[in-house]
């Protein structure tokens, strides 16, 4: 008997099958994921998700009898009171009383449930979104190196000794130099001993001894393994490029921004962050909040503390410009910015903001997204065409070649569609 411990075998043997399954059920899974993402908060979007899909596309049909009609006999255990000839009222739900009738794998047309891992969920969730203008993926930050095999070398550490290569060289050298094989020598010795025992002709004996002697000498002169045989695995360190991105979150936190609006903004920022994280190995986030003056803050302060004051958008843009200059040189970083605001701005600041955006910010950015959040009950106003100050200002900046996008969001439901709309892969194949 053998006992084999398989516990350390590579896990996830069925991973390839799972990928095939997901590919097969793609359409349905995508739909289920979209539905699910509508229901859950952005905060826990990074966790896995249980999805339910209909069995339609992943049905495994087979010829089997239908569950209804015809004559069937069943033998069942546990009779208590029946005698032959008794009749029993037909149980509800058709003739499936024999138990294991129905479809062979016991599934029927029920919905099929399973759990998607976090990776799979995000993959599908953010599928076919593309970052615009990826040209400037700067290569920097070479602090990460990896070793790659790079052939063989004649020097190296014993740990890297390549036994197969070494022995191959040794073997071919031994064959080329005709080093006598140990087996041959043993045979010769045996023959010699036999001849001695038989008392053969001394001349032949001497010849045999000489031959054996020559063999000995030769095998001594030609070593089994010579230093010139030895080969080592050679490794090279290869610098690994890291594409890096920084994301600027700009938000108006003046009194007019309600909790609801901030919530919407937060959701949008989270999505953008998740998305960038999937495209870049390292993503920095910078939070800038502003009233009539702007400040770089940490995440908590950014979302949860309120400020009072007026609203001067240009201050935030200036702050961003300053930070870029200080810490994120534009030739080394991919810069993304998202601004959320309720659209208020001091009238006197509009011209300045527009100029800053056009001449200062947009040339730095891969992409600048402006999200205007509005109170939910406030639906009518913008629909009537009354645009906010900031909207009008930014509209003047908008141009076909500029990486800026503007959208309005009123309720949570709209966040994801707007996000998709912003980043959806260009259909025309631009």
């Amino acid at each position: 008997m053998n006992i084999i411990d398989r516990r350390l075998n590579p896990q996830g043997k069925s991973l390839a099958n799972r990928q095939r399954f997901l590919r097969r059920a793609k359409e349905q899974v995508v739909k289920a994921v979209r539905d699910a993402s509508g229901k859950r908060g952005i905060q826990d979007i990074e966790n896995g998700e249980k999805v339910t899909i209909s069995t339609g596309g992943v049905r495994e049909p087979s010829f089997h009898r239908s569950g209804a009609g015809g004559v069937r006999d069943y033998v069942v255990p546990g009779n208590k009171e029946y005698v032959e000839g008794d009749t029993i009222a037909r149980p509800e739900g058709g003739g499936g009383r024999g138990g294991n009738e129905g479809s062979p794998d016991g599934e029927g047309d029920d919905d099929f449930r399973f759990v998607l891992s976090r990776e799979e969920f995000l993959d599908i969730f953010l599928e076919d979104l593309e970052l615009p203008d990826l040209v400037k993926q700067k290569v920097k930050q070479t602090e990460s190196h990896s070793l790659t095999r790079a052939g063989y070398s004649v020097t190296g550490s014993p740990a890297n000794l390549n036994l197969v290569r070494t022995m191959r060289n040794s073997l071919s050298r031994r064959i080329a130099l005709k080093r006598p094989k140990p087996a041959d020598m043993l045979e010769l010795e045996a023959l010699l001993r036999e001849a001695e025992d038989r008392g053969d002709d001394p001349e032949t004996l001497r010849e045999m001894r000489d031959q054996l002697e020559r063999h000995y000498l030769r095998s001594k002169r030609i070593p089994f393994i010579d230093p010139i045989d030895v080969r080592y695995n050679r490794f090279e360190t290869v610098p690994k490029p890291i594409a890096q991105a920084v994301m600027f979150c700009l938000m108006d936190v003046s009194g007019s921004m309600t909790e609801h609006m901030k919530d919407l903004a937060k959701r949008f920022f989270m999505l953008l962050f998740l998305f960038l994280k999937r495209r870049y190995r390292s993503v920095d986030i910078v939070f800038i909040r502003h009233t009539h003056e702007a400040k770089e803050v940490d995440e908590d302060t950014f979302f949860y503390s309120t400020e009072t004051g007026g609203t001067v958008v240009s201050t935030a843009l200036e702050e961003m410009q300053r930070i870029v200059k200080e810490r994120y040189p534009e030739n080394e970083w991919n810069i993304y910015a998202a601004q959320a605001s309720d659209g208020d701005n001091m009238s006197s600041d509009n011209a300045r903001s527009a100029a800053l955006l056009r001449d200062g910010i947009l040339p730095l950015c891969q992409y600048f997204a402006y999200i205007e959040v509005a109170a939910e009950h406030n639906m009518g106003l913008s629909a009537l065409g009354r645009e906010t100050e900031l909207w009008r200002t930014y509209k003047t900046v908008q141009g076909p070649d500029l990486p800026i996008a503007m959208r309005r969001v009123r309720s949570r439901r709209e966040i994801f569609p707007v996000f998709r709309d912003l980043f959806a892969r260009e259909k025309a194949g631009a």
Partner: protein, 518 residues
């Protein structure tokens, strides 16, 4: 009473934890009992320790250690994993593979007693059954299966590389849908040798490559509707070997538009189906045999003082839950538990052979009082399958014990009718009906290819011979026909014909697929 209880010397292990030494000792003890006392004859054993995760992996690829890749396995894995994680379903204690050496998986989190139970159950019970039952001997090749699986896996992976996932998946989907109709039910002339399969595949390929001559392409084709006289229908059928119930075999050999690799994939799936066919036919006996074996061995070990009282109680707890048979009106009822009935019948055979009653002498004149219960069991295990086993050995004693009764469900009546109960008048009826519940030939619809006009429109015609007026499930039948059409390349028609009157009850048809081939 002292705080420390001395462990008797004869105990093989103590407590719940296991290690390799203990397993080895227990294995040797079990082997001794199984081979010497019970006279079992087994393939060499290989026991593999795996984790729960790996057990789930093994589940999803129908228990085989190597399997080609297909999405349906991924689907089963996703469902099993979900059920397991949610606690709806536990994992099987073991999986055993009909191969030589016979591979049994045991899970790391089981207690030592469970490992003992599993080794006795799988490595000796199932193993003996695999090696000795005539169905397995005739239809499966235990020595070759692992090599063949290796070949199948790499062959299909190669096909995926060469022809694309989609094309391979299309063939596999179709083949899987026909798996139940892909077995030979009657013995062939030549016994199966899976090792030769790889060689034969290569040879077929080489022959094709050698005899390839591009000139044939330039030979003008016969005019449409050719001038060949059409042969008579019966002659045509004979040439094609019709009627044929092995649909996969027919498609592999005769489908006009399949490529070489597509035929080979059909062949692989067909071999899989054939390999599992005996297991489907002997579920009751196989489990009965294994359960009887572990029960006998564990009891013997307890008597010899090899396992402690605590271990014995733990064993009895799992054993009784395995052989529990809920009654028909119980919520937990889902058919007859093969472990329960199988185990009860094995015990009953031993009882009849060793201490028969008058009734037994009347019902089983050959068996009753024969004395050697174990010998009688080994005979039964070697020579029967579920259907014939029930028909031969189900005793009135057992029917009374299980309180069996049979019910007739005629869709035309408003009620169900109790036909037989466990009394003098009902024994034979119940036994016949129960045996039929295990008869795959009866359970699976009888579907055959009856005709195809290769010279004409090449429409493939299948017949389903309807017994007892139960038709095929329509939507599934339609889906399978679509798969057949994908393989066949032309129109396919399925006619449901009454077995009694030859009247046509229903017709399904699927038109030719638009694109076939690569």
């Amino acid at each position: 009473m002292t705080a420390v209880i001395d462990k008797p010397d004869s105990l093989l292990y103590d407590g719940a934890d296991w290690d390799y030494d203990q397993i080895k000792r227990v294995y040797d003890a079990i082997e001794n009992i199984a081979l010497k006392d019970m006279g079992l004859n087994v393939y060499p054993n290989q026991i593999e320790v795996i984790t729960a995760e790996q057990m789930l992996d093994a589940y999803s690829s129908i228990g085989m250690p190597l399997m080609y890749k297909h999405w349906s396995f991924g689907k089963h894995f996703a469902r099993d994993e979900m059920l397991y994680r949610k606690g709806y379903r536990g994992l099987a204690y073991e999986i055993v593979i009909n191969s030589s050496p016979c591979i049994s998986y045991i899970m790391e989190e089981n207690t030592m007693t469970m490992q003992t139970l599993v080794i006795a159950h799988a490595a000796f019970g199932h193993n003996h059954f695999f090696k000795n039952n005539q169905l397995f001997q005739q239809w499966t090749d235990a020595e070759g299966i692992l090599d063949y699986l290796e070949f199948a896996k790499s062959y299909i992976a190669q096909c995926e590389d060469r022809y694309g996932h989609h094309a391979v998946e299309r063939v596999l989907d179709a083949a899987h849908a026909l798996m139940n109709q892909g077995v030979h039910k009657y013995p062939k002339k030549r016994s199966l040798d899976l090792r030769l399969e790889q060689k034969r595949e290569r040879e077929r390929q080489e022959y094709q490559e050698q005899t390839f001559n591009d000139l044939w392409r330039t030979v003008p084709k016969a005019a449409v509707g050719g001038n060949r006289p059409s042969k008579s229908v019966s002659e045509r059928k004979k040439l094609l070997g019709l009627p044929e119930e092995n649909l996969l075999y027919f498609l592999e050999k005769k489908a006009p538009r399949l490529e070489h690799w597509q035929r080979e994939i059909l062949r692989i799936v067909r071999h899989m189906a054939q390999y599992f066919y005996p297991q489907k036919q002997t579920k009751l006996m196989n489990e009965g045999c294994a359960t009887y074996t572990h029960y006998t061995i564990l009891n013997e070990m307890h008597q010899r003082g090899m396992i402690s009282e605590g271990a014995m109680l733990e064993f009895l707890h799992s054993h009784t839950s395995v052989v529990f048979q809920p009654e028909f009106d119980d919520q937990r009822f889902s058919g007859i538990n093969p472990y329960a009935l199988g185990f009860a019948m094995m015990q009953d055979i031993q009882r009849i052979a060793e201490t028969p009653t008058d009734e037994d002498r009347y019902w089983f004149p050959d068996l009753a009082g024969r004395g050697d219960g174990m010998g009688a069991l080994r005979d039964a295990w070697a020579n029967f399958r579920d259907e014939s086993f029930v028909l031969q050995y189900l005793s009135p004693h057992l029917m009374r014990k299980f309180k069996m009764f049979s019910v007739r469900d005629d869709a035309e009546d408003p009620y169900l009718l109790v036909e037989n109960i466990h009394n003098e008048r009902g024994y034979r009826g119940i036994r016949k009906l129960l045996a039929r519940q295990y008869d795959l030939g009866f359970l699976e619809p009888d579907i055959q290819i009856v005709d195809v006009d290769l010279a004409g429109d090449r429409k493939l015609i299948l017949h389903h011979r309807v017994t007892n007026g139960v038709l095929l499930d329509e939507s599934d039948a339609k889906a399978v026909l679509r798969h057949i059409a994908n393989l066949w390349g032309y129109e396919v028609q399925l006619v449901e014909v009454s077995a009694l009157s030859d009247a046509i009850l229903k017709e399904h048809a699927v038109t030719a697929p638009s694109g076939i081939g690569g």
